[in-house]
Symmetry: C2
Subunit: 199 residues, 2 copies
DNA sequence: TGGGTTAACCTAACACTGTTCGGTTAATCG
DNA sequence: CGATTAACCGAACAGTGTTAGGTTAACCCA
């Protein structure tokens, strides 16, 4: 195919279809050839619009994180922490398959830094030292990312035989997958509440 | 090379050298061919001792997690939570490059389940409901894994120019890598203390 | 001591991966 | 109308995990 009358590709369309594939087939399910095929194109054509696969994933991650809400700090810092953590987790858990990618790289994404800066400033304004503010922000990220990884409740097998006998206190662990979603949310809320209350 | 007089390979040796490579070159730095070369062998030979690369990584992960200490529950549940979290984090941060792998898969490793069972039982014995015990255990894992990912402090650039101006409250963020280790530990301790206190 | 079996390694290949190079054609601008 | 540029393609490169089939040494038993 020569140059088409109307372009088939655009960075936006590439990102959007790539995210669909990640959501459907997982992070390993995304390859440049498969992505190109989904776009009706050859793999090499993608590199006219995207610098590298890693950059593509970073851009996708950034666009997901851009929905994080840090407006709560206008009220007070506790409310700010809680709202920020909730919307952060909501953003991540709407596309859980990309979370392991975030676990790799540096947090040097502009979106993250901008929000982190605001969070840090609000904590300092509330009277915390710079060092304390950094640690509190880190602790909040621990809970957010830890819960978003969710290799916890969703990591349990659905087969009772895997647990009964061997792990007496986990004899109902096989029920977890069924209520994993709800339990994950509640566990996150409990951890968040306990953390903020304990500060 | 035909069959050697004394075997060159054993599952233990493979695991140990693989972990060395991961520690030195990162998770992506480990390939079966490179591992084989480090062992003075061809890649195909590994498959006589190891079922698959994924299985190899799982075995390595299990052996790392086997050092997690849950003895603190003999004292009381708060002490148990704190000690368990500390030794869990210590185990992970002694080989930080393998943590992203753990973020992928199910937590269905026998070592994890055994410790989780004990933790769950101790919390129930202390008067928490089964559901609460599950959520508390989950919250603890959030903090442990979140802090072990450490895409936080170690994710900052060492170049001041990346921050100054753009992010007013992060104008000293470039100092983070230098004290990342210490700050990570302190942030973890703060989060852990706040979480347990807040329960 | 000899013969068969098995264990341990090898070479070669398969189907992938991300990425680059050079070519072809259509749209666009002066 | 001519030159430039943008958009796509085919083919290739070096790398990946993994498997099949072959070769030889070590081991066990008669």
């Amino acid at each position: 195919m020569p140059r088409p009358s109307t372009p088939l590709l655009s960075p936006d369309r590439i990102r959007s279809v790539a995210l669909e594939i990640i959501d459907r087939d997982g992070l390993d399910g995304l390859s440049m050839r498969k992505l190109a095929a989904s776009l009706g194109v050859q793999a090499a054509s993608l590199y006219g619009h995207v610098r590298t696969k890693d950059q593509l994933l970073n851009d996708i991650a950034s666009s997901i994180l851009s929905s994080v809400d840090v407006s709560g700090f206008a009220v007070d810092w506790r409310e700010g922490l809680i709202r920020c953590a909730r919307s952060y987790r909501a953003a991540l858990s709407s596309h859980p398959n990309i979370v392991p990618f975030l676990a790799y790289g540096p947090a040097g994404r502009a979106e993250s830094l901008q929000r982190l800066d605001l969070l840090h400033g609000a904590l300092v304004d509330a009277g915390w030292s710079r060092r304390e503010a950094t640690m509190i922000a880190a602790g909040l990220m621990y809970i957010v990312f830890g819960s978003a990884l969710s290799s916890f409740s969703s990591g349990f097998s659905a087969d009772p035989a895997d647990y009964s006998g061997r792990y007496p206190h986990l004899d109902r662990a096989h029920l977890l997958p069924a209520v994993a979603h709800e339990l994950d949310r509640d566990s996150f809320e409990l951890a968040l509440a306990a953390f903020v209350r304990g500060l």
